[in-house]
């Protein structure tokens, strides 16, 4: 199976091309956040390095959120339209779980987190089981203090903080250790390996980023109109 994997959820941009369990080529950059401009040239370059054409691909694996709304939308639109137009398989993986893929020590707890500003996070808690990160506390948009309360019952275990964990050096408890070096960055190669073990998306049309948060306009509207069905706001004319 030939696989393209990509993560543009935040400032790091990571792309990999794989054939089954073999990583053919991968690139991870942190130099800019112009993912719309750089993503496809990097994909094209890696594919050419591997001697592959777009039509050779069998599956696209994408980190589809949470993260920067623009970042996850660029990655998701890229993967969604590519899978749709080539008629190949599509797999979405949590962008937080993607960071947890950097760790393999059995039973290790990992708390990937993205800074959502104003002391808010996108965060989840994962435990390595049979070599893979499994969900302990599902991904959510949450206040930092609330998240730390949720983690209190794990205070006797070590937790690896990754992502933007280092934005809160004084607020995280003593059982946190920070990820270092390459482990700090999402690795599309790991994403591509993991994505091969997951079932493909059944309905590509309805595949959208996992924002984990309503827009403010939408949230305010729903508060005022709790009974309204919000499923049919777009009409073909």
């Amino acid at each position: 199976m030939k696989v393209l994997a990509l993560d543009a959820s935040n400032r790091p941009l990571s792309i990999a091309v794989l054939e089954d369990r073999q990583i053919l080529a991968t690139t991870t950059t942190t130099t800019h956040q112009k993912h719309a401009q750089f993503l496809l040239p990097i994909i094209d370059g890696l594919m050419k390095d591997c001697g592959l054409k777009p039509a050779d691909l069998d599956r696209v694996v994408v980190a589809y959120g949470p993260g920067s709304y623009t970042g996850i939308r660029i990655a998701t639109a890229t993967a969604k339209v590519l899978a749709f137009t080539l008629g190949i398989q599509l797999v979405g993986v949590s962008s937080l779980q993607t960071l947890a893929l950097n760790f393999t020590r059995e039973r290790q707890l990992i708390s990937p987190m993205f800074d959502a500003r104003n002391q808010n996070l996108f965060a989840g808690l994962y435990r390595i089981k049979d070599g893979k990160p499994t969900v302990v506390i599902p991904d959510q948009h949450v206040e930092l203090s609330r998240w730390l309360t949720k983690l209190a019952s794990y205070k006797d275990e070590s937790i690896i903080g990754v992502g933007d964990a280092d934005h809160f050096p004084d607020q995280l408890p003593a059982n946190f250790t920070m990820a270092e070096n390459l482990n700090k960055l999402p690795q599309a190669a790991n994403l591509g390996l993991f994505g091969q073990t997951l079932p493909a998306v059944q309905d590509i049309d309805s595949f959208v980023p996992n924002y984990l948060r309503l827009t403010k306009a939408e949230a305010d509207w729903q508060k005022l109109h709790p009974e309204e069905d919000s499923s049919s706001y777009v009409e073909k004319v």
């Binding site: 719309a36 496809l40 939308r73 890229t78 590509i204 924002y211 306009a217 706001y233 777009v234």
Partner: protein
């Protein structure tokens, strides 16, 4: 000659659209998914909401456009896309989708200016002959564009503040009409009388620029003052008075431009080009100028759609004007000003 088939994308604001166009002139399909119903809830387009809707609709639009046109990817010769101006997050969905279709099927990618698209909606009426002048009026733009030859666009005048369509939405809101207010105000204007004599800003100035914010303020002040003293104003008369003020300036400035820029064709385009008052008045005015033919974009193609992008994209295709894989959205893209504006 083999026919040229182009897939075109448009997602600059609140419509997701994909079209299949033959030789830049014939619409095989033009699928438009509009988000108006969603943004009505908020009284205007909310950018993040728009971006989210675009990614929900994009593959559905591609599939429907190909099925309606009865084409496969093997039939396509190029992919065209609006890359600006517009809302950056909204533009990015169309740009990303167009790039992926072009890359996956090894097709040239053509970057189209949204306003060139609006002008080329007229191409579906008949071929554009040069030199031509375009009056582009929409919710985001009000400008006069001189086209000395195919593929060249020069601004000779534009709004200094609000776009005409924006002014319609704002006075509409004051009268309790939901976004987009243009069609309703236009219908009311047909029933009322011009009793308020609102200002015609910059009408006598020796340039081709517009200003609608003073008109908007005059309207709102009149309305609120009447409310405060307990007067109920006739909404139809308000609509007629407002619309006359807008149309007077648009027509006067266009006629002034035509005097100094004798052209074969005058093109009326953009969302507000669907306005009946404007269409009627401009038609009557152009009847006095036998050397200039008026082409009005078809009403169905005045709003945002991908067919017009395909028509404008075909001109670039013939010139070999292609984008690289690094094409990005350019939210503030605009035509250059004419080097010397003749006044």
């Amino acid at each position: 000659m083999k026919r040229n088939l182009m897939m075109a994308f448009e997602s600059s604001c609140d419509e997701t659209s994909v079209a299949i166009i033959e030789n830049g002139a014939k619409i095989l399909s033009n699928v438009v998914a509009t988000q108006i119903k969603s943004h009505k809830r908020f009284g205007g387009v909310v950018p993040e909401v728009a971006s989210r809707h675009h990614i929900e609709e994009i593959t559905i639009c591609i599939r429907d456009a190909m099925q309606e046109a009865n084409v496969t990817y093997d039939d396509l010769d190029a992919v065209a896309v609006t890359y600006g101006p517009g809302l950056v997050g909204a533009l990015l969905i169309g740009v990303t989708a167009a790039k992926m279709v072009a890359w996956a099927h090894q097709l040239p990618l053509i970057p189209v200016n949204h306003l060139a698209g609006h002008i080329y909606a007229a191409r579906f009426v008949e071929p554009i002959e040069f030199p031509a002048l375009a009056l582009v009026v929409s919710g985001g733009h009000t400008e006069l564009v001189y086209m000395p030859k195919e593929g060249e666009f020069q601004i000779i005048g534009e709004t200094r503040d609000d776009a005409a369509g924006e002014a319609y939405d704002k006075v509409g809101r004051v009268m309790g009409i939901n976004y987009p207010a243009g069609p309703t105000v236009d219908a009311m204007a047909a029933k009322g009388n011009d009793t308020f004599d609102f200002p015609r800003a910059m009408d006598k100035d020796a340039n081709y620029d517009f200003s609608f914010s003073g008109l908007k303020s005059a309207f709102i002040n009149t309305y609120h003052h009447a409310e405060q003293v307990g007067n109920k104003l006739n909404h139809d008369d308000l609509a007629t008075s407002f619309q006359n003020a807008v149309v007077d300036v648009l027509v006067d400035k266009t006629l002034r431009a035509l005097k100094n820029y004798p052209v074969k064709q005058l093109i009326l385009a953009g969302g507000v080009a669907a306005n009946n008052g404007l269409r009627t008045r401009l038609s009557a005015a152009i009847d006095q100028l036998p050397a200039t033919q008026l082409i009005m974009a078809p009403r169905k193609l005045c709003g945002d759609n991908a067919a017009m992008i395909g028509a404008a994209g075909y001109v670039l295709f013939k010139e070999g004007h292609f984008a690289g894989l690094d094409l990005n959205a350019d939210p503030s893209l605009e035509f250059d000003w004419a080097p010397d504006v003749i006044q």
